[in-house]
Amino acid sequence: MQAHSVINDFVIRFANVNGTGSASANNMFAKAIFRMGIPVSPKNIFPSNIQGLPTWYEVRVNEQFYLGRRDGIDLMICVNPQSMLQDVASVKSGGYFIYDNTKPLHKEYIREDLNYIGIPLTEITIQEYTDPRQRMLFKNIIYVGALAALIDIEMDVLQQLVNEQFKGKEKLIQPNHHALDLGYQYIQKNFSHPLPYRLQRRDLIKDKILFEGNAATALGAIYGGATVAAWYPITPSTSVVDAFADYAAEYRVDPETNENNYAIVQAEDELSAMGMVIGAMWNGARAFTATSGPGVSLMQEFLGLAYFAEIPAVLVDVQRTGPSTGMPTRTQQSDILIAAHASHGDTKQVLLIPNSPKECFDFAAMSFDLAEQLQTPVIILSDLDLGMNDHVSDALEWKSTTQYRRGKVLSADQLDQIGRFGRYLDTDGDGIPYRTIPGTHPTKGSFFTRGSSRDEYAIYTEDGNAYKRNMDRLLKKWETIKSYVPKPELLQSEANANMGMLFFGTSHFSSVEARDILAKEGIELDAIRLRSFPFSQEVSDFIEDHELIFVIEQNRDAQMRTLLINELEVNPEKLVRVLNYDGMPITAAHISKEISNYIHKTNKKSKDFSLEMNAS
């Protein structure tokens, strides 16, 4: 057994079978830790399958708020014989392997360097329950009860969670309490406990929340005034629309008429979903769709139309591991290029990249303002890790004074006042023209929207000069966009480092942790977290101000680095790739190792690095 106890800093993994109801027990486990005021970060690792295959739930507890994934399991709760060999192997030396010892463990599962804790889960359930379904379900609660004893989860927090979960189905409360107790008592009786890996109440959570990115995105769309959602089911984006439907049912049904102040349409495919969004926003409603990689591929033609015809649209891309069907239930940040340059011809698309449920909410709400103000598609690049896992996040905020910004939309009165309306005329010098919504005025402001070339008055033309004027105006608009999109977040080191790290989205936590690890090794790095494309001035400044920048991405081809180099005209030498693309969320260990290796290999020191650069 491990000599010293480790408080609030470990990784625990549950090995379950898909479709056996383990999810809610596991969620309860994580939530209890959260309620104890301790930062926690659960991740579902599930197969592209409905029932019967191995599925894991991995929870990192870390009171320093290092909430990225960490390799190496300290405690393993294994209730799936299928994956046991792999599960035994994944535990760190000195870690704990907690298993169902109803049948004795085969010797191939025995590692000398692990601690084994057997709980006769099956036996207990057979004794306690007759219904096979109950046996299956309560097994999960029992191991949570056992864990309460083993790692000091406060029992009343668990009980309270049970009470809340079964509000309205009160007769289920007592049996669940009982199941918790069964596990708890078994450990009480049979083991010395708690284990060295254990919890201790803290007050670190404050007013934070535990929330899934996709639900936060959906709520952002509700707050942002989306009325039309058109979609086609695809993992891991489906829960965005599911949550939107739930929130809409709660907040968007007119209490008097009982009518829906929203419409959700399950389209026949992603092309159609995108077409519906474009049609709705052309017609003045706020609309969005959510999809993942394959859907983004299918939406290319429509995204090009929206770029060129300047129609607002909001697309949430919850990225998964590509290319093609790839690994549909694993994460990646690999749709950057196809999103940024969606469609044939010269196009540039606006990207927002949240790193937390709070930002999912903010960016989703903001995306409708941006799309309407900028008259172009806005693509929110989330990912499976952010979208489908719970994350500790700052509480959501909304100012009562917030007003939707609809951008340059002309009213009937305005149409009466101005001279000839030019749909694609840049009257303000910012590259953004005025638009009208169908039905506004009996005789003024109508125009023809098309994906083919036209002049400033939306009249079809094949005149090369008119075409070029329009394409150039779109570039001017692109410049304008840079001041509209969210600025990056900067983390300045005290020492004014000459090297920096750049990351975005879900690489956030692991990057921050890696930065601290490196600092302890004597490598000081400034850091910048991108939040949008195009890049604002701060991004070029950061790159300018540092001699070497580690670009951290979760894809193979360093796609963001490509955008940085091309949009900002950076010398590629300056940008060092730090990549992870095996479908699992990136870890701090990986990042810090890569950076530290690079620095040692190239013999760079953070202090005299600038000298060497010049000499090289």
């Binding site: 709520l219 009325t227 039309v228 052309w282 429509f302 169908p438 023809f448």
Partner: protein, 350 residues
């Protein structure tokens, strides 16, 4: 260039009850080939909207890509138009309609645009029963890309280039019937007397209304051997009934007698008056309509006129129970749950 507008107009041109003249329903000059069937359909649309007293800006025109899909530029210049991408107009129209249920939606497509690349969207548009009048300008070929066979070209029909189409045609009204469409009609660009009242009835129908209009392509598919040529169509037309559309049923009802006449009352109080030419066909009976269609097809005849109408049609908004107020008019107050609700939500996530 299909027609040159007369620069002189009679000062006492008729106006409709809105005070609009016919020219207020026109668009810019057509750039289609002289004699193209599509231009005649544009003309029929102009006339129908004029006579129906539609406010042009309350109608939205949507189309895909093709010669046919270009036509919305050539009529209703005061309506917003959207020439989208090839075959995907139905989805754009669906989004538009969801955003504002108060406008009138007119979808214009070609047989290539609808029956090939657009087939999936067409089928699902019908399934959702979007309130739209969907006109297929059906010439059995791809006009804009120079005359390839489309999926509505009849098996064995001959293209101008001399090749014979090998594949069985897709019969759009038949397909729409099978998919449960609530308004199915076919007409011929050369028969305005039939087409105009059909357009009016379709616009009045509160759901998806298909008019498959055979519209010869004079440049690529008006040759001998083509079953979509003016000559062939004229020789093989077989109408279900003569059609009359009466906007305000009450005023007129008495003047028609029973017998071979069939009156269909629409939800908005208008009336379709049919003078039946086909004995055992009933436009409100789906089986009978399907039968009439198949019968005509098997005899190589082109059944035109109103084929089927379901007066009980429930459109997408009704199915979804959407607010009667157009979604695009809802205010921030109606849409945003506000900070207090968010505090509760936060609380629920702790």
């Amino acid at each position: 260039m299909s027609y040159i507008k007369p620069s002189f107009r009679h000062p006492e041109l008729p106006v409709n009850t809105l005070g609009y003249k016919r020219k207020d329903y026109e668009g810019s000059l057509s750039t289609l080939c002289a004699g193209c069937g599509h231009d005649s359909i544009s003309g029929a649309l102009i006339q129908a909207c004029f006579e129906l007293n539609i406010e042009p800006h309350r109608l939205a025109k949507l189309s895909g890509i093709g010669c046919s899909s270009k036509t919305p530029t050539y009529f209703l210049g005061n309506s917003h138009g959207f020439n989208s991408v090839h075959g995907r107009m139905p989805s754009v129209a669906t989004g538009a309609n969801l955003a504002n249920r108060d406008l009138i939606y007119l979808g214009v497509s070609g047989d290539g645009d609808t029956a090939s690349i657009g087939m999936g969207q067409f089928v699902h548009l019908i399934r959702r029963n979007l309130n739209i009048t969907y006109i297929v300008m059906n010439n059995g070929c791809y006009g804009l890309t120079k005359g390839q066979d489309s999926a509505t070209a009849d098996k064995g029909s001959k293209s101008k280039a001399g090749s014979t189409n090998l594949f069985q045609n897709i019969d759009l009204p038949g397909l729409a019937m099978e998919l449960g469409a609530g308004f199915v009609a076919r007409s011929f660009s050369g028969d305005k007397v039939q087409l105009i009242p059909l357009i009016k009835a379709a616009l009045a129908h509160p759901g998806f209304a298909l008019i498959d209009v055979i519209s010869p392509c004079v440049t690529f598919n008006n040759n001998v051997g083509s079953t979509k040529s003016y000559d062939y169509v004229r020789q093989h037309v077989d109408a279900t009934a003569t059609v009359d559309f009466v906007p305000h049923a009450a005023e007129i009802k008495t003047t028609y007698e029973a017998g071979s006449n069939k009156l269909v009352s629409m939800h908005d109080g208008s009336l379709i008056k049919l003078n039946k030419l086909q004995a055992d066909w009933d436009p409100t009976n789906r089986d009978s309509a399907v039968h009439a269609l198949h019968e005509a097809n098997s005899k190589g005849e082109i059944l035109t006129g109103l084929i089927y109408i379901n007066e009980e049609s429930q459109d997408l908004h009704q199915l979804l129970n959407t607010s009667k107020k157009p979604l695009n008019t809802l205010s921030e107050k109606q849409l945003c749950p506000g900070p207090e609700a968010l505090m509760d939500i936060n609380q629920g996530l702790r």
